[in-house]
Each structure stands twice: as structure tokens, then as C-alpha cells.
């Protein structure tokens, strides 16, 4: 187990390094000059050069990569003359636009993204899994058909339409306040009420996925021989389903849930955009528009980290929950 973990963590680090190299290469080869965005209205060649120097763009791409990697492990200095700021390791560089350390920006935005992801995950697991269970136990009946129909419908709606519909109906027409993010620590109730729209929007789509997935897994599980045996022993159907069926159906659900959650923690771009939530997704889109490469790189790395961590955690949990799998 320990060896397995060590090996996986090593692989994770190697993959992160690969992601860094690829992402850096792509972003920093953009055929455009981010320095021009700070150069302003009367941009002289000298001024452009000095801005390129400030942003480190006057160095070759490999040299820029070198100082980025160095920053990760030993930190970097930023500034000029008497105004030099030290960015301690792990330093993800500075925003081209606001000169703030990228790590600080990410740490600042992450709670928003985290709140959106966790809240909607709770909702979609509650709704998705329970309706999937009902559907599976009544498989073939009208209840099942209705649930599957609703799930397929909501699955087919683009997220931006769902978001727009919520805003139109509840805020524009019925006068509910428009959401804006409130810190949990400042006002837990406000935090929750303002997040209802993004939660519902994401849960709407994801619940459908989980309904269908749960249904499929349960239907399959309930046809296994040992379920028939349990039934044959005269156990009540509810008990058969709850104790034996669900146990068999659960591991694949856990895997998918882990991967989905991991991906969402990197930022729900469209949802954050619709509801103006200042999370990582919004930060990423803004940094693309601003050619703010260090921020874009930082958010991408951060997102990749969650995807990889989710993979690792899921595999470990899967290994622990399924005796047939051994971790080695």
C-alpha cells in the first residue's frame, strides 16, 4: 500500500511536470505580445522594451521557463532598484496586469470555486442517486420512464440556458436578489443563498448524469446471481436493494464522482461566468482575454493538480472498497 502510494505520487509529480512543460510551451509561444497591453496609448519602442523587461519577456522562452521553475522551488525576486519584492517558493510568478503573486490570486479565488463545487455536488448526489435508485427499482414502469425522460431532457439542455432561465424567472421576474459571492466566514446564510443559483444550475445537469448512471449500475447489480440468492432467501426487496444492490453499484459511482469533483475544483467556467462568481473559472477566462500568461498558467496547473489528485484518491478508495482489487 505504501509502495503503491509512493509510486502513484511520483507519477503525479512527473505528470505535473509534463503538464507544466506543455502548458508553458503553448502559452508562451502565443504569437502576440502581452507587453503591448501595458504599453498604453503612446507606446514608444523604448517603453515597450522596458515593459518586456519588467515582465521577463525579453528573455528567451527556455530562460523564462528556467526562472519559472526556479521560482517554484526557491522563489523569485520581482521589481526594480529599491522596490524589489521577494516571492517565496512555491512562486507561480506575478500577474502581468496587477503585479500580484499568482499563488495569492488563486488562493483568493479558490474558496468561491470550492463552494460552488461542493454545494452542487451535495445536491446532485442527493437528487441524482436517489432518483436513480427509485428508477432502477421500478425499472420498466412509468415512474422509471418519467425519471429517465426528465433526466435525458435536463441532460440535453446547455448550461448557459439553464443559468439564463434561473436569472430570468427568479431574479428578473420574481424579484429574488441577483447572486454575488459572500464569504462563508462573513455570513454563512448569505453565502448559501447567493450560491443557490450556481448550485442548482450545475446540479441540474449533473443530477441527470448520476440518475442515469445509478440506474444503470443498480439494474445491472440487481441481476447478479447473489441478488437472486438473497431474494430466494426471502429477504425483503428493499433490504436486498439497499444492502446488496447498492453496495455493488457504488464503486463505479464513487469513481465518477471523484473525477467530476476534481475537474470542477479547477473552475466551473460557464457557470461562474453566468452568475458573476469570482472563482478560478472567471479568473482563467479573464486571464485569457488579458493575455495574462502567468495567471493562466497558474490556474491550469492548479486545475491539473485537482484532476490528478482526484484520480489518485479515487483509485485508492476504489481499491479499499473493492476486495477484488489489490493496490500494488
Amino acid at each position: 500500500m505504501t509502495r503503491y502510494l509512493l509510486r502513484r505520487i511520483t507519477a503525479l509529480i512527473a505528470l505535473m511536470a509534463a503538464v507544466l512543460v506543455v502548458t508553458f510551451a503553448i502559452f508562451f509561444l502565443i504569437p502576440s505580445n502581452p507587453a503591448l497591453r501595458s504599453c498604453g496609448r503612446y507606446c514608444s519602442p523604448e517603453k515597450l522594451l522596458s515593459i518586456e523587461h519588467k515582465l521577463g519577456l525579453d528573455k528567451s522562452v527556455p530562460a523564462q521557463f528556467g526562472s519559472y521553475v526556479a521560482g517554484l522551488f526557491v522563489g523569485r525576486d520581482y521589481g526594480d532598484g529599491t522596490q524589489v519584492d521577494h516571492c517565496p517558493a512555491p512562486c507561480l510568478g506575478y500577474s502581468f496586469k496587477t503585479d500580484e503573486p499568482v499563488l495569492g490570486l488563486i488562493v483568493d479565488r479558490f474558496p468561491v470555486t470550492f463552494s460552488i463545487a461542493i454545494g452542487s455536488a451535495v445536491l446532485w448526489v442527493l437528487f441524482g442517486v436517489s432518483s436513480g435508485l427509485v428508477s432502477a427499482l421500478k425499472a420498466g414502469g412509468n415512474v422509471d420512464k418519467t425519471i429517465v425522460g426528465v433526466a435525458t431532457t435536463s441532460l440535453s439542455l446547455p448550461v448557459q440556458l439553464v443559468g439564463a432561465a434561473l436569472l430570468v424567472v427568479f431574479s428578473a421576474k420574481l424579484g429574488a436578489p441577483f447572486p454575488h459571492y459572500v464569504n462563508f466566514a462573513d455570513d454563512p446564510v448569505g453565502w448559501a443563498t447567493n450560491l443557490i443559483f450556481p448550485w442548482v444550475t450545475l446540479a441540474f445537469i449533473y443530477s441527470a448524469v448520476y440518475t442515469r448512471l445509478t440506474r444503470t449500475q443498480m439494474v445491472e447489480a440487481m441481476q447478479e446471481d447473489y441478488i437472486r440468492t438473497a431474494r430466494g432467501k426471502g429477504l425483503p426487496e428493499r433490504r436486498v436493494a439497499g444492502r446488496h444492490g447498492l453496495r455493488a453499484a457504488l464503486p463505479p459511482l464513487i469513481v465518477v464522482f471523484g473525477l467530476d469533483l476534481g475537474a470542477l475544483l479547477g473552475g466551473a467556467i460557464i457557470t461562474e461566468r453566468i452568475f458573476g462568481m469570482p472563482g478560478l473559472g472567471n479568473l482563467a477566462i479573464q486571464s485569457i482575454l488579458d493575455l495574462n500568461l502567468p495567471v493562466l498558467l497558474g490556474v491550469t496547473l492548479f486545475g491539473a493538480f485537482f484532476v490528478l489528485m482526484a484520480n489518485l484518491v479515487v483509485d485508492v478508495i476504489y481499491g479499499l472498497s473493492d476486495p477484488k482489487v489489490t493496490l500494488k
Binding site: S32, N33, L36, R37, S38, C39, G40, R41, Y42, C43, S44, P45, K47, L48, S50, I51, H53, K54, Y78, G79, D80, G81, T82, Q83, D85, K97, T98, D99, E100, L105, D108, R109, L167, S171, A172, G175, P177, F178, H180, Y181, R273, I274, F275, G276, P278, N282, L283, Q286, I288, L289, D290, L291
Partner: protein, 571 residues
């Protein structure tokens, strides 16, 4: 007055902002040519003290550090936090484009042919911690703008002062001294310029003259927490999320007659979706009743804002001082030929283009570069077609110029949906004239990069401009003189170089009598159209809405027609 190149105040920052350049500058309701703001009067405004004003914005300020503030919304907001030598008057409309003394006792005294300017500070001025504001602090603020670390501000002091070129700012050169600024005592400051600066009273209203105490300077971090000399100080500022201002108790309102500073607190919320801002302001619920925005009403909501009486009463309209135009690259075929350019002037479908961008609320049709809200403006229309375009005439002219089968040209368009829609309308409108347009969509992030690089720019590019201060001197020279052509970051997107034009420009800049100077600027404006360098499209207008409990919501021309934040009040 400030630059708004990406129309920072349009909501989806940059994304929709560039739609502006496709044609629209802004939105606005009325079609009058003279007024700006709902209540045109020469009387200063007054309001009720107290309450909280909320600013809803699609993007954070680009910068708040006085050395780095340039665009309109930041300049407007900056007056809440720090003071400058002079500042714009608190009057709606054209009277609001006049400056009045702020830190200084007067608008400055010129000597040496307007190359030297002397200001004295009012007595008893204090920062947020109660310490005195000195002329040395103003000098230090100017010195900071010479640093490579803070490059974004308006480039006047750091290009015109004596010492430019050798002085590298206080960080690289801590022992150095900016020769162009003298501070004989704590309340006197003398500027020495290399060239005459007749417009110094306006230049002194730029954030560049805001005092920065050396002890409080934090370099690039100053942007997040500028030290207050103005009516408010920053209680909390999270970049990209929110800002909150509380009163600076050491600010003396009696020393600042043009600044009302009525609300007790000001809250700003950033990165909101444009449609959401509209919906919040239209719904006018609870705290949104005391909210305003630095953005525009979205095109789809213009009808509601201009027709629903209850909403219209809360709307803010008027010119934003901007002009938008399409430039023809005069150095490349086919627009190196005057006759082809003139044919384009006749062919261009201004009406269809404006309609595609949102219609009449965007602004009035333009025939010149100098906007009607500048004193140098002249009324003329060298290519009269009723703004609809005259394809038949254009086709004839093209044929006479040697293109009987028409000609293919490229049109650079920012790749936002609205901008591309305008370009599609232009393409459709130009086709019958024989101009076969190929639309080149340019990703928003690269738009200026691409069109500002003559080697890469398409034949036709969309551009827009707001003067740095209300004088044609900050319009024509930076946009159309030979010296303005640059291999990168080019502003002269027509690549127009005419020695005669340049000579007139130099003459106008050296003319101290404003009337005489205006005469020359007007003549140059006509020359541009005679040479058919650009197709002026719109004198832009704003259309914005405020919550029902916000008062004094006139659009301030110096700030691109945005609400004068220093003088709004809430009930």
C-alpha cells in the same frame, strides 16, 4: 480626461468592449448635438450627505495607482481617493469640462512661453493619517511615473519634463533627482517642460499630479492600496472582487468645492456579468436602489430603458466625447489610391452599421474626427449620402479609378459576436458598390496588437478615441501625424503621413490663443476627410441606468460620459 481604448466601461471587459470599436462607442438616448447629461446647467450640483453608494462593474479597475491610472472609469473613481493640482468642475454638460483648482490655489502661472508652470498649494491639506500634503509629495508622485515598473499612466509629464530620457524614476535612481520639477518650499511646485504646454491646467488634472508620500510608497503594490488624500480611504480592496471606501476624516470639504463626496461609504463589486448588472438595475430592488454602474446598458435592453418612463427617468445619457472611425491603410493597395478611398467614403453604410450595433442610442453619425463636445469641432460633410451610403456613385468612382470589376479588401474585426455582426452588415452594404470585403476576425486579446502593427494590419480597421483632455491637441497629433506611425503599438492606423498636416499640427500646438488653435485643428480635420483617410462613423453616446435612490447622476464628459462619482448622492 482619459483614454478608453478598450471601452473599459462597457461591461464584458474587452470582450464586448471591442464591439465598441466595430462601430459603437456607447449607447445613449437623445439625439441632441449639444447636451451631455440629463440636466444641462451651469450650476454646480449639490446633494444629500450619507448612505452607501454601490458601484456594479463588469471588471475591476485596470489600476488605481495614480502613476498608472489612465482609462476613464479608473480616473473617475480615483477622484474619490486622491486629489490632484486641478480637477474638473462639478457641473453637467460642457461646463463640466472646465477645470478648477483642487490642491492648488489657482490653475497655475505660466512663464517662459508656457514652458514653466508654477503652482501653490492650499494651506492645511492633509492625508488620511493627518500628516500634511507637501509639494515634495507631488514631485515624488511625478517621479514615480518615470519608473519602468509603473508604465501605464498618461504619457505627458514623463515625456515632456526636463530630465526625460536621463531620469529613471525613484526606484532605479534613488539618489537621483528629476530636474524638471522644483519644490522651493513645501507649498510651491514648479514644472519645467522642454516644449510649451499651453494646456497645463488640464494636464494638472491628470492623476499624475496626485501626491504620494515617499514613506507610504510600496512600488507595484501601491496599486492595491493608494494612500488617500481625497474624500475617502480604502477600507478593503480585493482585486477582481470588491472594494469598499470609507470617509477620510482628514479631508476638508471646504478646500474642495468641486467634490461633493456625499455618500458615507462606497462599495464596488467587480466581474459581474453585463446582463446581470442590467437586470439588477432594472429590477431596482433593495440595495440596488442605491447602485450605479460604470458600464453601458446592453443593446437588448436599450428599448426598455428608452421607452419605459419609470426606467427612463433613471437613465443617464449623452455624448461620451468619443469618436469611432474606420481607417483605410493608405500605404497599401487599393487604398493607396485617393480615388478608391473616396469611393469608400461614399460607399460606407454608416446607417446599417449603427443599426447592427444597436441603433441610434449608440451615438450620432459622424463626419469628422473632432467631436462636437470639443470647441475645435466644425460641422461639415464632404461625402453626403444621408449616412446610407451611395453604392452607385461609389461603383462609378471605382470604375473610373481602374477597378470596373470591383476590388477585394480585408476588414479587421474584433471577434466578439456584436462586432462581427456589425462587420457582416458593413460587408453586405459595401458589396453593391463593388467592394468585396473579407472579414478578418481578430481575437479580442490580440486586437490592438494586430491592428497596431502596420505589417500585419488589414486594409480596413476599426478604431476609436477619447481625448485625454478636452482639446483637439490630444486627438489629431497622436492619431494622424507622421511621427505617430510606429512598427508596434501604432495609433496612426491609417499610416497617414502628410508633411503639410504635420506642419499645421506643430503650428496649432504652439498657438497659445485657444480660438486661433481651434481654427487650425478644424482645418486639419477637413484635410483628413479631403484626403479620405478615415471614415468617421459615430460620435459616441453613453446610456446607463442608476438605482432609483441615486441622485446627481449626470454623465461627466471628462470621464467618457460616465457618472461623476465624486458628486453623486444617495437618498
Amino acid at each position: 480626461m482619459s483614454w478608453s481604448p478598450t471601452r473599459a466601461r462597457t461591461r464584458l471587459p474587452a470582450l464586448v468592449g471591442l464591439a465598441a470599436l466595430a462601430l459603437t462607442a456607447a449607447c445613449g438616448g437623445s439625439t441632441t448635438k449639444t447636451s451631455s447629461g440629463t440636466g444641462e446647467s451651469a450650476k454646480p450640483v449639490a446633494g444629500k450627505k450619507g448612505g452607501t453608494l454601490t458601484l456594479l462593474s463588469s471588471a475591476d479597475f485596470e489600476h488605481l495607482d495614480p502613476a498608472r491610472v489612465y482609462v476613464t472609469n479608473s480616473s473617475d473613481f480615483s477622484r474619490l481617493i486622491y486629489r490632484t493640482l486641478t480637477t474638473y468642475d462639478n457641473k453637467p454638460g460642457l461646463p463640466g469640462t472646465q477645470v478648477v483648482p483642487d490642491l492648488a490655489t489657482d490653475l497655475g502661472t505660466a512663464s517662459d512661453g508656457a514652458k514653466t508652470w508654477t503652482f501653490h498649494l492650499k494651506p492645511g491639506l492633509k492625508y488620511e493619517d493627518g500628516t500634511a500634503i507637501t509639494s515634495q509629495d507631488i514631485k515624488y508622485g511625478v517621479e514615480r511615473t518615470f519608473s519602468d515598473l509603473l508604465p501605464e499612466g498618461a504619457p505627458y509629464f514623463n515625456t515632456l519634463l526636463v530630465g526625460t530620457g536621463t531620469y529613471k524614476g525613484p526606484y532605479k535612481d534613488p539618489k537621483g533627482d528629476l530636474k524638471g520639477v522644483e519644490t522651493p518650499d513645501a507649498t510651491t511646485i514648479i514644472f519645467h517642460f522642454m516644449k510649451p504646454l499651453a494646456d497645463m491646467r488640464y494636464a494638472a488634472a491628470l492623476p499624475t499630479t496626485a501626491p504620494v508620500p515617499k514613506a507610504k510608497d510600496t512600488g507595484v503594490k501601491y496599486d492595491a492600496r493608494p494612500f488617500s488624500s481625497g474624500p475617502y480611504k480604502i477600507a478593503n480592496y480585493t482585486r477582481g472582487k470588491s472594494i469598499s471606501l470609507v470617509r477620510n476624516t482628514f479631508w476638508d470639504p471646504k478646500s474642495a468645492p468641486a467634490i461633493g463626496a456625499y455618500p458615507d461609504t462606497v462599495e464596488g463589486l467587480f466581474n459581474l456579468d453585463g446582463a446581470t448588472i442590467d437586470q439588477r438595475l432594472l429590477a431596482d430592488n433593495g440595495p440596488d436602489q442605491t447602485a450605479i454602474t460604470d458600464g453601458q446598458v446592453q443593446p437588448e435592453n436599450v428599448v426598455k430603458v428608452t421607452t419605459d418612463p419609470a426606467v427612463k427617468a433613471r437613465s443617464i445619457t449623452g455624448f461620451d466625447n468619443s469618436v469611432s472611425y474606420t481607417a483605410m491603410d493608405t500605404t497599401k493597395a487599393p487604398f493607396d489610391k485617393l480615388a478608391v478611398r473616396q469611393a469608400m467614403e461614399y460607399a460606407y453604410p454608416k446607417f446599417a452599421a449603427r443599426l447592427a450595433g444597436g441603433g441610434s442610442s449608440l451615438g450620432d453619425f459622424a463626419n469628422s474626427v473632432i467631436v462636437p463636445t470639443l470647441s475645435a469641432h466644425k460641422d461639415f460633410d464632404l461625402y453626403p449620402t444621408g449616412n446610407k451610403g451611395d453604392p452607385a456613385k461609389a461603383k462609378q468612382m471605382l470604375a473610373a479609378a481602374g477597378f470596373p470589376n470591383g476590388v477585394t479588401v480585408t476588414l479587421g474585426s474584433s471577434d466578439t459576436p456584436s462586432s462581427l455582426k456589425v462587420s457582416a452588415a458593413v460587408k453586405a452594404g459595401l458589396a453593391p458598390a463593388g467592394f468585396n470585403v473579407t472579414i478578418v476576425p481578430i481575437p479580442t486579446a490580440k486586437y490592438y496588437d494586430t491592428i497596431g502593427t502596420p505589417a500585419k494590419q488589414p486594409n480596413l480597421v476599426n478604431y476609436g478615441w477619447i481625448p485625454d483632455w478636452p482639446s483637439a491637441s490630444t486627438v489629431l497629433p497622436p492619431l494622424f501625424t507622421c511621427g505617430a506611425i510606429k512598427p508596434q503599438g501604432n495609433n496612426n492606423v491609417a499610416n497617414y503621413c502628410n508633411k503639410e498636416f504635420d506642419a499645421l499640427s506643430d503650428k496649432a500646438l504652439a498657438t497659445t490663443d485657444p480660438k486661433a488653435a481651434d481654427e487650425i485643428w478644424g482645418q486639419m480635420d477637413q484635410m483628413l476627410l479631403k484626403d479620405a483617410v478615415i471614415i468617421p462613423k459615430l460620435y459616441g453616446k453613453v446610456l446607463s441606468i442608476a438605482g432609483s435612490k441615486v441622485k446627481n447622476t449626470y454623465g461627466a464628459l471628462p470621464f467618457g460620459g460616465e457618472v461623476d462619482l465624486a458628486n453623486v448622492s444617495v437618498q
